[in-house]
Amino acid sequence: MTSSLSPARQQAADSAAPAITASSLTKRYGDFTAVDGIDFTVARGESFGLLGPNGAGKSTTMRMIAAVSERTGGELLVAGLDPERHGPEVRARLGVVPQQDNLDEELSVRENIIMYGRYFGLPRRYLVSKAEELLEFAQLSHKARARVEDLSGGMKRRLTIARALVNEPQVLLLDEPTTGLDPQARHVLWDRLFRLKESGTTLVLTTHHMDEAEQLCDRLIVVDQGAIMAEGSPRGLIAEHSTREVLELRFGMDRNAEIARELTALLDAPEVAGMIGFSHIEVLPDRLLVYAGQAEAAMERLHASGHKPLTSLVRRSSLEDVFLRLTGRSLVD
């Protein structure tokens, strides 16, 4: 009853095919459409991001790729294989890091890795040394015997990632890898993921943190309400959908819209528009975002005209601005 894949399929699965191909991929729960006919391709060795707010359909897409959720429509190939027809083969090629760490609290740190490998049918002898290697990679060697519950949040996250690497996956799926971690723990984690990327593992990650997407993704799609809003490299998306710089201004409550109108007239005037590179102003409840190629110049113009914001900040455009431009909403509610 058991057999290896046929040589032809083995080849399809291991070399030629892209890591993931999705076309018109759809998932509906009753009346609710979580994923609405999206298309994307992830090349091997690429680091690919799904960016979007909570409820955009990122996790649902991830679950379909991970061969644990049935799609309602469309096509999906992972390593050239249909996850619904070849569930075990697909899962054997994947490493999955779910949004919530679901480590086995009844086992020690080390046993978590070994037992997870056993679920893939890997021999224990191989796993004993593999576990050492992965614990070192995750900087957890000193915690090998510890209980899972004694680990910090960052350590648990690293253990979940180490565990997902036990089968040397071709594709690593990371659902919100650093949500809920402190900045230092995030940087440690990013460093580890960067190494994986360098070693050739395909990374697919969802995030609603722009800085994370900018750090880790070669290419990403911006998803909102189950549909793709834009696709490209982080830098390319910013160039396409935003200005080089942003001026953030706070004027105190309740006056934002009114001031925005005044400022638009001021900055959009023909005599200064070219120098400032003014594009538009976004009005947020607590602040104004002035999109301009030269934010400092816009700032000077403001002061010259007698406007005195409570605080002001000049910064580079980020993916957050891209998302705001595309959807009219901010990413983190």
Binding site: M1, T2, S3, S4, L5, D14, A66, V68, S69, E84, R85, H86, G87, P88, E89, R91, A92, L94, V96, P98, Q100, N102, D104, E105, E106, L107, S108, E111, M115, Y116, R118, Y119, F120, G121, L122, P123, R125, Y126, V128, S129, K130, E132, E133, L134, E136, F137, R145, R147, E149, L165, N167, E168, P169, Q170, L172, R195, L196, S199, G200, T201
Partner: protein
Amino acid sequence: MTGSPAADKDVLARRVRRWGALYQAEATLRSMRAYGGVVLFSSTFQPIVYILAMGLGLGVLIGAETDFSAYGADSYLMYIAPAILASTVAMTAGTEFTFPVMEGFKWRRKYYGAQATALSPQQIALGHILGVCCRFAVHALIFIGVLFAFGVLASPLAVLMVFSAVLGGLAMGLPIMAYISTLRDEKGHAALIQRFIIMPLFLFSGTFYPLTNLPGFLQVVGWISPIWHANELGRVLAFGQPGPPWMVAVHLGYLAGVAFLAWLVVRRVFIRRLGYEEWPGRVPGLKSDLRRQAKQDAKDADEARAEAGRVAGAQMTGAAPRANAPATGSGVGAGLPPVTFRTGVASSYYSGNIRAVFARGLAAIRNNRGVIFLSGFLEPVLFLTSFGLGVSPMISGIEAEQAGLAGQDTISYAAFIAPALLAVSAMNGAVFDSTWNVFFKLKITKLYQTMMSTSLGPVDVAVGEICLALFRGGIYALGFLGVLLGAGLVGPASAVLMWFTALFIALGFACIGMAATSFMKRFQQMDWMMMVLIPMFLFSATLFPIDVYPAGVQWVIQALPLWHGVELMRDIAFWQFSGLTLVHLGYYLAMIVAGGALAAYRMKRLFLR
């Protein structure tokens, strides 16, 4: 903001200092509402079930030979009714002072939410206790109402049993709360307390018979047991059980004393944990963990050495060296052994790796303490001891014919109930493993979600879990049968056959349990299911022959699975087989096939949600 009730902080602080415990009690009661239906139903249902099963069923047997007028009661039912009230309240204490306390400190950290408000640690503790007291009182009032309706209470003083029962519940529950609240983590402690403390204190508390029926050393357990003191108080109140007045004072003093001392400890522990000291609690089993890990380290070192030797050998013969980089990730790397896959229609369901699921279960059992695992067989032994020794003096035995067996002999009461208890223990274990345990891993620990993201299929997981349940059940049955053999209640040939039968019965219940779990959405539904098991245990001809009931009731009982299990065990124990034996076997076969098929059909629903 004037006018806001939150405006004057000093008034708030004063109010909380005065009434804080009541606010916490309100929170405790409100969180009980989640299973309020179960609470009310069980309070009504439990007395009725006990009255019908024990009072009327067992009462037919006992009443024929034993007179309870010396104790002031008209009937067996009247004699046990107040004791059942006190016992059920005290047993409830075992749940209300264990899991909710762990929930407060660890699982949901509710107490830490309260700690951040103006409440003091001792108010949090007292509030929890008051909330639970309300539950006890409601339970007791409904119970008393039902008993009045059945006309088994002679005196209006019986209403005062609310107080004696609540006091008994506190004397039972507060020491448990004191212990549980010192724990940083619960590793089966509640189960241990249930099996080693609550069950013995309940079974040897003179609930179903006068304590004096037991041999002296077991009577001591009764004197210690708060349940016995609460029982005796209840009997005095319900039908004026005669006895020296100072005994009433002893009962009251004992219960109040235990409850008060335990309260002092509870208070101290809560102040330590929720006060400025911020004591995180004891790590249970820390020393034994360290010992075990040292042993495991040594074993791993050996394995690593052996592996290093192999690699070195491979390099000598010119084979490629193992990739040393962490997680090469370059597809099927040099170090990754080949993995084979099953093909065909079932391959998405079954990967042929049940072993791994079973091994994970064994590892988890090993990491938990062995005593928890082994204690499972204790329950039937305790039941057998209590009923065998306590009830036997009141009846001269069961007529063979009455027990559905050929011949004119009389069977000792212990020999009559022993096979039934084995069947019950097989049922309980299998149902618990296939419902609660599965649901817990599905919903709380998300273990199955993890397993499903690997090559494993749902069938691997389901079969692996059933194998684990049978493994555990097999060991428990072995222990119990050892006791029966030692006591001369069964022969060796019967014992061997009964062991296999116990597994067979367990398999039947496990299949049905799995299938039922696939329909479950919330934990409360689990509680309802447990409520089916208690009456099934009490009615299925376990503790008395089925012929005490009218024909109509007999048919209902004969339709239930446990009755067939009990009868099957008896057929084997007394080595008397008939056509009915085949019917019993067939019934379980049908359960296994139907339950297994339904579970398989709903397999994805069960694990992939």
